[in-house]
Symmetry: C2
Amino acid sequence: MARPKTTPRTVDNPSVAEVTLQQLLEAVADPVRRSVIAQLATAGHDISCGAFDLPVSRSTATHHFNVLREAGIIHQHYQGTTKMNSLRPDDLDARFPGLIQAIIDSCVRENDQVTEVR
Amino acid sequence: MARPKTTPRTVDNPSVAEVTLQQLLEAVADPVRRSVIAQLATAGHDISCGAFDLPVSRSTATHHFNVLREAGIIHQHYQGTTKMNSLRPDDLDARFPGLIQAIIDSCVRENDQVTEVR
DNA sequence: CCGCTCCTTCGACGCCCGTCGTAGTATGAC
DNA sequence: GTCATACTACGACGGGCGTCGAAGGAGCGG
């Protein structure tokens, strides 16, 4: 009712308290998602969804971004039609001390190895 | 094959170099396996396969122990017909700095929460 | 209004993993 | 030797997740 036909583009990033260890570890268990983490950590600035180098289709990529966001690993926000991604400030560290950082570090190393073999 | 009918009961625990990040994270993404980790960390001593409190059948438990061992997280050795399990000394720390310990800590906390709700 | 770009949603599909029960092997006690 | 115990190996099954393509909404620029 009186709902606008068009919904504005917003993203709701979950609060830290809503994230479970299960979610976090599942999110990180997928190589594509780890690649996203590595690219974000290496770049040091926000990256749009389309600008990632990923071996999957756009729709699959969207899925992975959702998983990462719901796990509290990345933060997303719209900027026009473009969706920007950044590693979330490590407030997750309060719930899982040291875990996020250790994971990010491992992801970066893993990614470096891959690119260095090429 | 001239393979002896009876193979003595030995376990080969993989070397650290053979473990991949993928293996480690997959291993840790399962709640049953995290429970094993938590119980080992809390106990502080070796635990036999049969002495764990797990919500799955014995054969399934065996499967999980294999995954944990191949991921370099636990060490197994026979003692008669009993197979003992221990958390592996953190030589994995060289490959994935801080990761194992952060995971173990999170597993313990997670387990504590569960038991404290009861 | 039109078209273009980005990203999302939906349904479908295939495969892998966790699960089980059964049957089997190794060890130790009697 | 016989029996009991502890764990393993194997085959089967079901559900979930990653994957895709097609179709569609949101914003931007003419």
